[in-house]
């Protein structure tokens, strides 16, 4: 406490911090970015290891033999799907019943707030079919889920085939201690949302679904399978769920361990791991993988059908089969054996997966960075805001001229935020009537219009109300805004590190050095920039025009994700980040 109570030392420290404020801030920013880039460097990361004892030491022998037959079932499924023009409910029910499962169906319907142009749907009606394999060995209080989507076109037929094949095989085994639920969901995430809400008796998004007739125990883990070819070259693991939530790292470890054991190529973010970490290309490969994970997590959307399970405390991941031009192929039997092994180990669980990390980034499937290592990168960026706030506080040593003067811009900017949040969806009908645009475009363009209008509005009203701004007025406003931003980014980074970090990376430098004479990026630019970076990372660079279209669709998808699944990114940006940003905009136009 000496530092806090000894006036001489305090004075020295404070004068140091004020005199060297700008250089210290720059150094902090550099250090934050450098730290973050360093996270992908292999010697700084940890190797993944299995923490859960129940899954670690037990030996499992995989014997699934019926890959070819599963593919046959898949082809049959595809034929029936084509005939029914959607989910072949009757066929699926019959097939599952003949495999000895208790089969139930669930109907659901949902009208989207506006048409989804990416997936071409507006009025969604569908049926989920699921069969429960009751555990012969235990009191059926726990369950595991294996799901495969029934997608339009020719996608994912093989996944349903493998799922049915596994169901038949699992039925003949005696060692299951948990119910296993085989789920075929229609309309990907919407069906999954309906099924999960029905299973847990909740209704958060106002969707219509018929109640579930049959139920297993509480779900411990879930895997979602996506497979669109008879043979695959590699399996890709998708972890990012709703609002950037991740499953327990042990689930990823389990997948990695079995891929190693069976000898299947495995990837994450579609990137293989490389052994040449000490070369430049190896390092940049790791950076790319990690950045892809960061971008996907920051988007807050579920990147596979598993994404919604995480909200219910269920560890879940999606396994995607990828067929590329490599020589070495893996057949369906091997994939079946891999899944069998994973379910056998999950079956051995005595408690929920909790031993390993929940907060992590993965530069490759075999290495991870835990929260203790990546948080300092964000902390260094947040420190800049605190240092600036301290500097302003000392400059304002005389009593601040009325907190009330800050209240007006605060209220106005928040009202603009509320407008940005509510208007786009409410005004689409009017916009469609008056302008030659489709509904989706109307929503996106209204959002952009409100956004730009907000940037023009508040600093004008402020001048009307108080005449000319006082000299110290903007400093008080900036102090409030900087602290607001720091708290906001801190909370965001705790819930979704990637989102917090990306926002901090772009907003902090501008926020820290904005004065009435100095100019500035905004959250919208952050998004635009992120869209291009993401495409670049996926090695699919786009032209500017395509990028712009992509940008518009990303906005509409964000609004849809919020309406459909309750993703928090859009309300966060509209109700909190954007108003906070307007405060800085206010400072810029103070004079």
């Amino acid at each position: 406490m000496g530092l806090l109570s000894d006036p001489n030392r305090r004075r020295a420290l404070i004068s140091l911090l004020t005199r060297l404020n700008a250089p210290i801030c720059v150094v902090c920013y550099m250090a934050g970015v450098a730290w973050f880039m360093g996270l992908a460097f292999e010697p700084f990361t940890l190797r993944t290891y299995m923490s859960e004892n129940a899954m670690g030491s037990t030996m499992v022998e995989e014997r699934f033999p019926a890959g070819e037959r599963a593919l046959g079932t898949g082809r049959e499924f595809s034929a029936h799907k084509k005939k029914a023009g959607g989910m072949p409910v009757d066929w699926l029910v019959k097939t599952m019943q003949s495999r000895g499962l208790e089969v139930f169906t669930q109907r659901f319907s949902r009208r989207l707030p506006f048409p989804d142009e990416d997936k071409e749907r507006y009025m969604v009606k569908g049926t989920n079919v699921y069969g429960i394999l009751r555990a012969p060995r235990a009191p059926r209080t726990e369950a595991l889920v294996l799901s495969a989507p029934c997608s339009p076109g020719d996608d994912n037929n093989q996944a349903v085939g493998v799922l049915l094949g596994l169901a038949q095989y699992f039925r003949n085994q005696v060692f299951w201690a948990k119910d296993i639920i085989f789920l075929v969901n229609e309309h990907d995430l919407i069906g999954m949302q309906a099924w999960l809400e029905g299973y847990h008796h909740t209704n958060t998004t106002g969707m219509d679904w018929s109640p579930l007739q049959g139920r297993g125990g509480s779900i411990q883990a879930a895997l979602s399978l996506e497979l669109s070819s008879d043979v695959v070259t590699s399996l890709d693991l998708v972890l990012e769920g709703l609002n950037g939530q991740l499953p327990n790292l042990d689930l990823a470890n389990l997948f990695y361990a079995f891929c190693q054991k069976i000898g299947v190529l495995c990837t994450t973010q579609g990137k293989l791991q490389r052994n040449d970490w000490d070369s430049v290309s190896g390092y940049s490969h790791a950076v790319q993988t990690m950045m892809l994970m960061v971008m996907k997590q920051a988007s807050g959307r579920p990147w596979g059908d598993h994404g919604l399970f995480l909200r219910y405390h269920i560890e879940a991941a999606t396994i995607k089969g990828i067929n590329s031009f490599r020589q070495y192929k893996t057949d369906a039997t091997t994939i079946g054996r891999l899944l069998e092994g994973m379910y056998r180990k999950l079956n051995n669980l005595l408690e929920r997966l909790h031993q390993s990390y929940f907060f992590y980034l993965m530069p490759s499937l075999s290495h991870f960075v835990s929260i203790g290592y990546y948080m300092p990168a964000f902390g260094l960026l947040a420190l800049i805001l605190l240092l600036r706030a301290l500097d302003l506080w000392i400059q304002l040593a005389t009593p601040p001229p009325g907190v009330l003067s800050v209240l007006t811009p605060l209220v106005i900017s928040h009202l603009t935020g509320v407008a940005l949040y509510t208007l786009p969806i409410h005004f689409q009908e009017i916009a469609v009537e008056h302008f030659p645009v489709s509904e989706t475009e109307a929503v996106v363009l209204t959002a952009i219009a409100v956004y730009t209008a907000g940037l023009a509005l508040p600093h004008n009203t402020h001048r009307l109300l108080t005449g000319r701004g006082t000299e110290n007025g903007w400093k008080v406003l900036k102090l409030v805004a900087v602290l607001y931003l720091a708290v906001l980014l801190g909370c965001t980074a705790l819930i979704n590190f990637s989102l917090g970090f990306i926002l901090a990376l772009t907003l902090v430098p501008v926020a820290a050095f904005v004065t009435p004479d100095l100019c500035s990026a905004t959250p919208a630019c952050t998004l635009l920039f992120s869209v291009f970076l993401f495409q670049e990372l996926q090695e699919m660079p786009v032209s500017f025009l395509d990028g712009w279209m992509l940008y518009l669709s990303v906005i509409s998808q964000g609004i849809l994700d919020h309406a459909l699944y309750g993703s928090l990114v859009y309300p966060l940006v509209a109700l909190l980040v954007y108003p906070c940003w307007l405060l800085f905009w206010n400072i810029l136009f103070w004079k």
Partner: protein, 435 residues
């Protein structure tokens, strides 16, 4: 001054009424930061239901409020929202009146001291002017009514608001010099939650000072006054407890209310220090640490009373802060009560050292509580350690805040007697160092 106060009351009531009607009310009344097992409205409703069935409300181990509260709401349950708003209004008005009266006394004392030339010459800038003191009572009322903590607590219908009203009335009657009412309200406050017992010393010091009885252990008049006050206090406490017994027809409430407060069986997370510690501890240490933790609340009374015997109102503020930090089931409503006093000490601002740091930490912690709760309970990705870390930080910040005010107060007093610009023996400028 009545017009701004009325306006303030109107604004405060409107905000509360609007929040009661919104969907946020249910969300807020579930927050562990806002309601404790003692004060939760849900538990009061449960107690009422049991009472209506003719069963003792304490038989279910859910309800832990005092009998008077449950009989109050037996009649007022349909007007609960109005009752809680009224409680907040009473607290604010009581604080307003008492601070107004206190400021008058402070000013009078300062005038006498000035006339008697008791202050050193260079202390003129420390002298308080009536102009700066004019708006302090209004600010106190505003700090209480518009404090988000109070609003949350009121919207959640936490019975903490009623306790605050009783304590505020106690402060008012003490400052007005009404010995009997002061004793009655203090006994009511004690009856509600035991801890206000420590305010006894402050009230005694204040009333003695007001009646010009010196605090001298050898004087008969001192002991006579203490005995009088103790008699009134214990007498009314006895009457209230007796009344509860006759209302309820059993002594069930004693273990269920006071046993519950003192032995801390409910370890639901809250913003206090108890829950995590006792959840982690081995059972056979429990009694020992229970004593240590509980004595902590009462312990500071003696040194603080000795140090601040000339300034009983500041002592009340310190005691309220200590209670709300160290009590077994604290909620944000308790914090709001002592924070309402902060404008009274606005003249200490030049001596405060860590106010910026502390307010930043308090602000950040308040935002982080719900976030970490979400991560722990709903997302399942964080755990109790995260939440407790924030609790700990929040309490450290509160302690820093209170000790900072304590230090500033003592330092101002020191300057008032020794001059503002202190010199060392060799004539160079000296600085005060707290070690």
């Amino acid at each position: 001054m009545a017009a701004p106060l009325t306006l303030l009351l109107l604004v405060a009531v409107t905000v509360r009424a609007a929040l009661y009607r919104s969907s946020l009310a249910d969300l807020i009344s579930e927050r562990v930061e806002v309601v404790s097992p003692l004060t939760a409205w849900k538990r009061v409703v449960e107690g009422l239901a049991l009472l209506d069935l003719g069963v003792s409300p304490y038989s279910g181990d859910v309800f832990h409020e005092t009998p008077l509260i449950i009989y109050l709401f037996h009649f007022l349950v349909d007007y609960a929202e109005i009752t809680f708003m009224l409680a907040d209004v009473i607290t604010a008005v009581a604080l307003y009146l008492s601070v107004k009266d206190y400021n008058k006394q402070v000013f009078r004392k300062q005038k006498y001291a000035l006339e008697a030339d008791r202050y050193p010459l260079d202390c003129l800038e420390l002298i308080r002017s009536p102009k700066e003191m004019q708006y302090i009572p209004l600010k106190v009322a505003m700090f209480y009514l518009l404090n988000p903590f109070t609003i949350l607590s009121c919207v959640a219908k936490s019975t903490c608001g009623l306790n605050n009203a009783v304590i505020a009335l106690f402060v008012l009657s003490t400052i007005k010099g009404n010995v009997l009412l002061s004793a009655i309200f203090l006994s009511l406050a004690t009856y509600q939650s035991i801890y206000p017992l420590t305010l006894c010393a402050a009230a005694l010091l204040y009333l003695l000072q007001r009646q010009y009885i010196p605090v001298n252990l050898r004087r008969f008049s001192f002991w006579w006054f203490v005995a009088q006050y103790a008699f009134m206090y214990l007498g009314s406490l006895f009457v209230i407890v007796g009344l509860s017994f006759f209302l309820l027809g059993s002594w069930d409430f004693l273990p269920s209310v006071y046993g519950f407060i003192l032995s801390v069986p409910d370890l639901t997370p809250n913003i206090g220090l108890f829950w995590y510690f006792f959840a982690e501890m081995f059972e056979h240490f429990r009694l020992f640490f229970l004593c240590v933790f509980q004595i902590n609340v009462f312990f500071y009374t003696v040194p603080l009373s000795i140090k601040l015997k000339e300034h009983p109102v500041f002592l009340i503020f310190m005691q309220l802060a200590v209670i709300s930090i160290f009590k077994s089931y604290p909620t944000v409503g308790d914090i709001a009560l002592y924070m309402a006093f902060l404008p009274v000490w606005s003249h200490l601002h030049r001596f405060l050292r860590n106010i910026f740091l502390v307010s930043c930490v308090l602000l950040a912690c308040s935002a982080l509580f719900p976030v970490l709760w979400h991560l722990w309970i709903y997302a399942g990705s964080a755990n109790s350690n995260f939440y407790y870390a924030i609790t700990l930080l929040f309490n450290v910040a509160q302690i820093l805040l209170v000790s900072d005010y304590f230090y500033a107060f003592l330092r101002r007093e020191h300057h008032l007697s020794h001059g503002l610009y202190l010199k060392r023996k060799d004539g160079s400028e000296a600085t005060l160092v707290l070690k």
